[in-house]
Amino acid sequence: MSTKKEKPALPHPHDELLRTDRIPHIWCTGCGIGTVFGCVLSAIQKLEIPLDDVAMVSGIGCSGRMAGYLKLDSFHTTHGRAIPFATGLKLARPQSRVIVASGDGDLLAIGGNHFIHAARRNMDLTVICVNNFNYGMTGGQLGPSTPFGARTTTSASGCSEEPFNFCALAAACGAVYVARWTSLHIRRLTSSITEAMNKRGFSFVEVLTPCPTSFGRHNKMRKPLELLKFYHERAVIRNNIDPKEATLDFKKNLVVGKFVDIERPTFLDNYQLMVRGGLGDWPNLEPRSAGEESSRQECLLP
């Protein structure tokens, strides 16, 4: 008897964007990455942009495997280096939309320095951070997001470090779009990813996801449904608040929402301005002549 499943009669709406020859994927039962990935695919489809102009870059870890399942130009780089790789890619081909999709440890521990500088430069990237509160692929070690006191394989008696608030960090570094959702907020997450991809500049979407296999196992939440319920009960939407106040208090509530949506010239806007001699003389930075003023205006237009 063959165990091969028959091909379903109707294709899945995401099939055109999936490397279906690489399915089944590596993610565990109850993992939230697949849901996030599905939201990214829906967002790409919603945008109705030429698909050859979209690329995904990811780093290392469970979330870093997203790039490998996307049937577009996709790059699976080294641990922590997705953002600088994406920076080069974007600058060499500015007409493209470059998505960086990776995990919390990859983007904000080993890749933390790249993250803050890309945000400072307002590099035109859409960064999607799957936050599962630990290093899942290696069995569940503490990371920059591990809640104080949570158990991991390298904090068996509880994590003695305080975690980052990624959204507050991104905003402080200059991100022009910052949002946080859980992987249960499928519609809101999809529309945030769409907005982020349409945004010119450094946009950041954090997604809280369950990791029953690694994080849950060490914290008495081994069952996928338990973790999902936990997020469902505690998630509170508070749009437009200062992301510093968007705290993750696992005893009370997990604040989600869209926190930042502002305009700021991108790296390339200012680079082109500089090339045209339009930056003026520091510190006054007033355009030197009327001609230069008009070029500055023109360059700052989206």
């Binding site: 050859d52 600058l91 790249h114």
Partner: protein, 373 residues
Amino acid sequence: MNGDEACCEGAIAAGCRFFGGYPITPATEVAERMSRRLPEVGGIYIQMEDEMASMAAILGASWGGMKAMTSTSGPGFSLMMENLGLGYCTETPCVVCDVQRAGPSTGLPTLVAQGDMMQARWGAHGHYETIAVAPASPQEMFDFTVRAFNLSEQYRLPVLIMADEVVGHMNERVVIPPEDQIQVKNRKKPKKTADQYLPYHPDPDGVAPMANFGDGFRMHVTGLTHDERGYPVMDAATQEQMVARLVNKIRDHADQIMSYDAVAMDDAEVAVVAYGISARSARRAVAEARSRGLRAGLIKLNTVWPFPEKMIRDLAGRVRAMIMPELNLGQMVLEVERAAAGRCLVRLVSHAGGTIIRPATILQALESARKEA
């Protein structure tokens, strides 16, 4: 102009339009000139937050379709090893210029050495082959940088320019030929349609045509062990196939890649084998030796990796002794000894860096080797 500046002009002449860098003595002048020159030719200069980022950015830019480069020195070169490995594994054309200074660690930031030669060969983890050129003058900084880009595009890999502080900072006349006299090579593009294209299926020359991001091929590129589709495959057979190809595409073309100058070698009994700045001291020493009636010659290695094994082996059968001057306590000399395989005397003339090797020291070594051999 100085060697660092000549390197920039060579890069631009070869078509480089992206530079991701981080300042470091004695390579800073490369970044400085690139920051001024690239905007003039429609290129991009970006100063990254560190050398890991610089290396990652040039790989990204190369996949975006721009010829890309970075420059650094010892400490930064160490930081680049991680993503150099990604470049070898994903077969990404790009150029890295290492203007060597004395190490280990911070060492002597402003003073010359040639201590990164083995790091250039083996610095990234795992097994791979690399190509490295070793300029000995500002003119060669220009010429060899053009060649480094051409080799990187032809064989799809990061190519290293192993310069040093003296060559980088030395001011000399540099002749830049007219544009139409500079040979520029570009990566092979796929001739197949997107559904037939296998990103890592090599042509008979061992090199696969390369699609850029946005060309419509929708490929996957990974630093994991991958098959011809570019898909990760975690088994020993795929690993063997991939690594063998990375290695053989260079080994099979070693003769075409290798370049050296032979000076006064026709009747030489004793040969100096040298590269980079030490080859200039050697040239003077050989001229002086000849004037004293000693039949000395010079083999100046223009490419150091892949090591010109066959040429040195043949040479070892023709001369009585080989002298290698280098600014480390013995790196490339190990390769010379290996290739010579005991067929002639091999002598190292060296110190750990900080100043060049004087011609008189090499001359002395030539004279005593002639007596010994």
